[in-house]
């Protein structure tokens, strides 16, 4: 649904609500919150894996929105603009907390601890059909923050590597490398989970 076609409970369009919120109308701002809170909160939750932190970041994202909504010019969809603003709020928080910076020297060569083991080539060991939302979420939550963020931004949220590189302040190659390592780590975690499940059934 496009920005102009969304109609709020009050009978005004989202576009009108944006324009009124830009002029400081608090009720229209609240209406925009109602429309976008789910997407923003879910993003924060996925990126942090922590409910309390996700709530705090959602609050911060909407406060930023209130301060910056006057600068929205409609060059992209409002939801896209807000999503990007929210990602930046999360990244800023994680940097303050000491999110490990992506090393510029990092190469795409698989590191010893991240590389696939040679004993995983049998049919029984492939993951096909074994991933569900719960075990995937658990695995993603246990990724190191740098890996988790790139995986969420690229594979879940659909950002391109050049966009991620810009947001994270790293090179496109590093974004690709982090994503690859994230997927390798997830594979390892999901295989463990699958093996534990199989052992539990015996």
């Amino acid at each position: 649904m496009t920005t102009t076609k969304k109609v709020l409970a009050s009978g005004i369009s989202e576009q009108e609500a944006i324009e009124r919120a830009q002029q400081g109308d608090p009720e229209c701002f609240e209406a925009l919150y109602g429309l976008h809170k789910r997407r923003v909160y879910s993003l924060c939750l996925r990126m942090t894996g922590n409910t309390a932190e996700a709530e705090d970041l959602t609050q911060e994202a909407f406060l930023q929105l209130y301060r910056k909504i006057g600068t929205f010019r409609g060059e992209s969809a409002f939801s896209t603009w807000l999503h990007r603003l929210s990602v930046n709020v999360v990244l800023m928080r994680l940097r303050k907390k000491g999110l490990p910076e992506v090393s510029l020297e990092e190469t795409l060569e698989p590191q010893q601890e991240d590389g696939p083991r040679k004993d995983v080539g049998t049919v029984d060991n492939v993951l096909a059909g074994s991933i569900d939302r719960v075990n995937l979420q658990r695995a993603v939550d246990s990724l190191p923050p740098g890996y988790r963020i790139v995986f969420i931004l690229h594979d879940v949220e659909g950002y391109e590597h050049n966009e991620i590189a810009e947001m994270m302040g790293c090179s496109i190659g590093n974004s690709k490398s982090q994503l690859h390592k994230a997927r390798l780590k997830l594979r390892e975690l999901l295989k463990q989970s699958k093996a534990e499940k199989a052992a539990g059934r015996r």
């Binding site: 608090p26 996700a54 406060l63 690709k176 594979r187």
Partner: protein
Amino acid sequence: MTCSEFQKSLPYIIDGGGTEEEQGHLEACPVCSDLVADLRYIAECAKLLVPMEDPSPRVWKSIEKALGEEGLARSARRSS
């Protein structure tokens, strides 16, 4: 081509790239073909995480309070 050489190009191969030699290795090597299949499967399954959750109503209350304290809004009367 060795598995190690093949795996150095994995990020590109996963995205559908790769040379003829790499494609040949992929078809011939069960370890590497399983690896590629798994990594592609993980990327596909990422969309399982898309479903949305609503924040607690206290989030809006906190926003409303913060806006009031900052003098950014007169007041938002209703809570969601």
